[in-house]
Each structure stands twice: as structure tokens, then as C-alpha cells.
């Protein structure tokens, strides 16, 4: 249908062909959709459609497999890095990545995450950190900021009651098995471009057998945060970046 209304010579931007037409279940304003698009674009640009296997988590992106037309394995909560290890070890020439949220990666799957990264599995972990449990309805996440209100810390997170927010990406950077650890966001066009480059760099490193990569996308959850998408982006820049500063934490790819 789009062909009928868009003249090819006028086309300046297109949905990546790996993204299908299934309507997304994500809330308007959510970062997931943008990151999905970046993943699809990078796989397509690398020409890895036939070799890519994604591992989706439990959390909002549990249905990631519905939107990007590659093979997917849906993992149990937190176990995606172990599932990815199983696939990649058996199919070393495949592009294997996980797509996980903060609850999945930094809480219930901490052990699987750290050990897969520390073994230097040639996989990429894409880590969506929005400091809240989105799917189950806005509960406290391991990455919830101090003072941040959620339905399980309605008076704000305090160290005495809830402990401190966990910086998994900083931990990942200390592990010998990782080659590339970075923190990105998708709140501006420039940030989206940077995030895409990071995902590509990580995917390429995993195909070159250089070890594990972790790409954190510090994200918004406007529904969980109870903010409008615009306000959520402001809060992200104001509060999240302060505690989760953006940039490369480790890059040994070119060493």
C-alpha cells in the first residue's frame, strides 16, 4: 500500500525490512520500539538476517520475537545469557544476542549475566535500563534510583529499606571477558545514532570472537514513571544520566 502513496524518488526513510507489521504492544513513548528498530537495522545492514538468533527476556520485551523477523528463543526470567551461551557455543558462526530489561538482567539473572560476560561468550547483551518493572506494573527494580517512587517503594527508594541501585554496566566493565561495554540512550536523534553505532560495534565484535559486549540503553518508562513521554525524557536526562552517566566504559576491541 505504501508504494501507492509514496513515490520511490521521494522516499527518505523506511522501516527496516526485518521489522514486520505486527502492531507493537509497547506504550507510546517507550524506548523499546526505537531500540528494536536499531537492532533490526543493524542486522540488516550487516547482512546477518540468516544468521541472527535473538534471545528475548521476561519483562516488557518478552514479545520482542513478534516484531523482528529473525529466529528467536524466549528465555526464562533472567536466563537469557545462559540460553544465548547454549546457542552460540553450538553455532559459533551465528550472531547471537540477548535483549533484556533491568529486572531480568540485573536482578533475577545477575548470576547468568555476570558469568556469561566473564566467560567472554561471543554474544551481545542489549540491556534496557528504565529503573522500573514495566510489565508487572511499575514495581521497584534493582536499578531504581534512590528517592524514586514505585508501587513497591511508594515513599521513595531508601538505602535502609531497599538497598542501593545496582550499576551492572560498571560491574560488566571490570570483567575480563568483556570487550565492549557502553551506556547509550535513545532520547534524541544524535543519541539514537550513537546507540546504533554501539550496537553494530558490539555485534561485529561478537562475530569476530573478541568476547562479550554489553550495550546499556538507559531508557524511559513513561507509564511506570507516570510522566508524559516528553517529561519522561527530561527526567531521564536530569536524574538517570546523573547516576548512570553515558559513554563507553570499556573498549578493548581495537587493542
Amino acid at each position: 500500500m505504501k508504494e501507492d502513496i509514496i513515490a520511490p524518488e521521494n522516499l527518505v526513510y523506511e522501516k527496516p525490512s526485518l521489522m514486520n507489521d505486527t502492531p507493537m504492544h509497547y506504550c507510546p513513548g517507550c524506548s523499546h520500539g526505537v531500540v528494536h528498530k536499531l537492532v533490526a537495522e543493524v542486522i540488516e545492514e550487516m547482512g546477518m538476517q540468516d544468521k541472527a538468533v535473538g534471545v528475548s527476556p521476561v519483562g516488557c520485551s518478552v514479545f520482542a520475537y513478534r516484531y523482528i523477523d529473525i529466529d528467536w528463543s524466549e528465555a526464562a526470567h533472567g536466563r537469557a545469557p545462559a540460553v544465548a551461551t547454549g546457542i552460540k557455543r553450538c553455532w559459533p558462526d551465528r550472531l547471537v544476542f540477548t535483549y533484556q530489561g533491568d529486572g531480568d538482567l540485573a536482578c533475577i539473572g545477575t548470576a547468568e549475566t555476570i558469568h556469561a560476560l566473564n566467560r567472554g561468550e561471543n554474544i551481545t547483551i542489549i540491556f534496557i535500563n528504565n529503573a522500573i518493572y514495566g510489565m508487572t506494573g511499575g514495581q521497584m527494580a534493582p536499578t531504581t534510583l534512590l528517592g524514586q517512587k514505585t508501587v513497591t517503594c511508594p515513599y521513595g527508594r531508601t538505602p535502609e529499606l531497599h538497598g542501593y541501585p545496582l550499576k551492572m554496566t560498571e560491574i560488566a566493565a571490570t570483567l575480563q571477558g568483556t570487550c565492549y561495554v557502553t551506556r547509550q540512550s535513545v532520547d534524541t536523534v544524535a543519541a539514537i545514532r550513537s546507540a546504533k553505532k554501539a550496537i553494530r560495534k558490539a555485534f561485529e565484535a561478537s562475530m569476530q570472537g573478541k568476547g562479550s559486549s554489553l550495550v546499556e540503553i538507559t531508557s524511559t518508562c513513561n507509564s511506570g514513571w507516570k510522566l508524559s513521554p516528553v517529561k519522561a525524557n527530561e527526567w531521564l536526562r536530569e536524574k538517570m544520566f546523573e547516576f548512570y552517566p553515558k559513554g563507553d566504559l570499556k573498549n578493548t576491541i581495537d587493542e
Binding site: 538476517q49 540468516d50 523477523d69 529473525i70 528463543s73 551461551t85 547454549g86 546457542i87 547468568e112
Partner: protein
């Protein structure tokens, strides 16, 4: 060689693609033997020590979902940890093999042999309506033979298959003839055998998705029913058992795994004492050979279920015979393996007390 070592040798020989595991007594020889044999240099089989049993089974999930012949092994507490992954594998219909070299529980329990995971093994084990095929070897030879059989059944029905062993069979050494060597399957063969597997979507097909999730109840119910249908098929086709001296017997011992070996000796001793005893050994614990047992037990004076637990299989024995014969249980606990004489004494006690017909 030891039962645990036989597993490792047999796995390599039957063309297995990968092993993921975590050490625990009394099954650590499985991963130790694999590490020593270095199959990655010969057949290309992957061997990886994971960070936990939870990780092991999820690595199996990933690799099995990608069409590979892959297995893990553990002992009771570790297998309890794996139940999450096994349930997911059942839900996602993945073929995979796992081995439980049982030790006593509950909790950390003991490292000594036990058969107290019978309930867990034969009732699915994790959450949801599902079963896994359970093979119970009673010799080192069967440890080796069941490896290939377990893979064959797992792939035939696209479901997890379990080898339920115990510390006796895992640790004992006896003569074993290793199975013939089968090469690992090529990519083309995997593609043909597992058109559902996730190892990269080629242009000729739609994306494959391995998942156990379905949020629409109506669709999920259909999925559940499909699983049940498959389980019915397994029940019809895959029941395995063995009998010994049942024809002229007045009494039956029913026992699996190491308890069956010990019961065989007890049967010899009882016959020396003039008691005509036969032995019925279920080889598949799920599906349980209920019809076969029912037929054999008809008219006997008593059936003694001999287990190294507090009385688990005895429930299936009672269900199978549904009140047509007296059924009692004998077992030792805590890691103590019953000796043949104790079993004979239990039989005599049941006769004397009138629980069994004289």
C-alpha cells in the same frame, strides 16, 4: 567403568553436540570424564562447566532450541534447581536429555544413594501440566545404552527425556560394551530433522520462535491439549519393563534402578527359602507400565514395592493393580541402601502379619 563414566563415553559416541553441567556428588564423574576425553578435539562436541544448574539447563534450552543434541547431568538438589528449565523445555517442546544420579534428601540431605526423586521425576517436576520420559537404568551397561535411547525418544516426541539413576549405579563399576559410534549430524541433517529450530532463519522459511508463552487462554488450552495428546502417544508406544521368574511366582517384587538389582538377589535368597518370588522392573517410570503390571500381578498373593525411599512408586503400583492384590512398600532412607536380606525379611513379615496372603 563407572556408571557416570559410561554416560560420558556413550554421549560422545552417540553423536551428542554439547554438554552443560555443574559438579555435584555423586555425579561429578560425568563432567570430569568429558573434560578428560576432550571431545571438542575429536567429534566437535562442546563441554562447558556452567555457573549453576539453573544456567546449565538454560544452556540446554538454548542449544536444544537450536536443534542440537544436548544434555546435562546432576544429582537431586541440582535437579531440583533445574526444574524451571525443564518445565520451559516441556512447554516449548524441546528435545533434551538430563540425568539425575539421585542422592538422599530433602534439602542438602546426604550424598549417599537414594531413589527419593521418583515423584518429582514422574510427575513432571516443575510448574504446569507436563511429563518427561523417565528411563531408569539398573546397570552400568544401561547407563551407556540409555543415552542414545533417551536422545532418540526426546527427538521423536520433541520433549525432555530423563535418565533417573542413583548413587549406586553412578558410582559402581562393571563391565560395559560401549554403543557404536554415530557421527554428529550435519547442518543439513539438523535442518531436516528440526525444521522448528532457531539457528538462523533462511529465506525459504518464516522465523522460528522457541517459547512456552501464550497469553490467550483459548490458544494456550489448545497447546496444553496438544501436549496431552503427545503424552498419550508416548504412553501407548514407549512403555518398557523387564520381568524375571514371574510365571510361577506367588509374590512379586516391583523395583527399579539399583533397587531392582538388590531385589533380584533378594528373589534368589527367597527362592532358596522356598518362597516363590518374581521380579517386575519398570524401565520407563513415566510412562509407567501399569497395564503390564496389572496383568502380571493378577492372582498373586502379594506385591512388595522395593524402593530406596519412603514409598513413592508404591502409589503407582497400587494405581496399576487398583486393589486386586495386596501391595506393600519396603524401603530404606537417609542414603542407606537396603541389603537383599532385609527385603526377604520384609516379605516374610508381610506374610506373617497377614498383609499378604499366605
Amino acid at each position: 567403568m563407572k556408571g557416570n563414566e559410561a554416560i560420558a563415553h556413550a554421549a560422545i559416541r552417540c553423536g551428542c553436540d554439547a554438554y552443560f553441567g555443574y559438579p555435584i556428588t555423586p555425579q561429578s564423574e560425568v563432567i570430569e570424564t568429558l573434560a578428560e576425553l576432550k571431545p571438542w578435539e575429536t567429534t566437535g562436541m562442546v563441554v562447558l562447566q556452567a555457573e549453576s544448574e539453573v544456567a546449565s539447563i538454560n544452556m540446554v534450552y538454548g542449544a536444544a532450541g537450536a536443534g542440537k543434541k544436548v544434555f546435562t547431568s546432576s544429582s537431586s538438589p541440582g535437579v531440583a534447581l533445574m526444574q524451571e528449565g525443564i518445565s520451559y523445555m516441556a512447554g516449548a517442546e524441546l528435545p533434551g536429555v538430563f540425568i539425575n544420579v539421585q542422592r538422599g534428601g530433602p534439602g542438602l540431605g546426604t550424598i549417599q544413594p537414594s531413589q527419593s526423586d521418583y515423584f518429582q521425576s514422574t510427575r513432571g517436576g516443575g510448574n504446569g501440566d507436563y511429563y518427561v520420559i523417565v528411563l531408569a537404568p539398573s546397570s552400568v551397561q544401561e547407563m551407556a545404552d540409555f543415552m542414545d535411547l533417551a536422545f532418540t525418544l526426546a527427538f521423536k516426541y520433541r520433549m525432555p527425556a530423563m535418565i533417573l539413576s542413583d548413587g549406586v549405579i553412578g558410582q559402581m563399576m562393571e563391565k560395559v560394551v560401549l554403543p557404536p559410534v554415530k557421527p554428529r549430524r550435519t547442518e543439513e541433517e539438523i535442518k531436516k530433522e528440526c525444521p522448528w529450530a532457531t539457528f538462523g532463519r533462511t529465506p525459504d522459511r518464516k522465523p522460528n520462535i522457541i517459547t512456552s508463552l501464550e497469553l490467550q487462554p483459548e490458544v494456550m488450552e489448545i497447546r496444553n491439549q496438544k501436549l496431552l495428546k503427545k503424552y498419550e502417544l508416548v504412553k501407548e508406544n514407549e512403555v518398557r519393563y523387564e520381568t524375571s521368574q514371574c510365571e510361577d511366582a506367588d509374590y512379586l517384587f516391583v523395583a527399579f534402578g539399583s533397587a531392582a538389582r538388590i531385589s533380584e538377589k533378594a528373589m534368589e535368597l527367597a527362592r532358596e527359602d522356598g518362597l516363590k518370588v518374581g521380579l517386575f522392573r519398570p524401565i520407563t517410570l513415566w510412562p509407567f507400565p501399569d497395564k503390564q503390571l496389572e496383568a502380571l500381578a493378577k492372582g498373586k498373593k502379594g506385591v512388595l514395592s522395593v524402593e530406596i525411599n519412603a514409598g513413592q512408586m508404591v502409589e503407582d503400583v497400587r494405581l496399576a493393580t487398583h486393589g486386586t492384590v495386596p501391595v506393600e512398600h519396603f524401603g530404606r532412607l537417609g542414603g542407606i541402601v537396603p541389603d537383599p536380606e532385609e527385603i526377604v525379611n520384609s516379605l516374610k513379615e508381610n506374610i506373617k502379619s497377614g498383609r499378604f496372603n499366605g
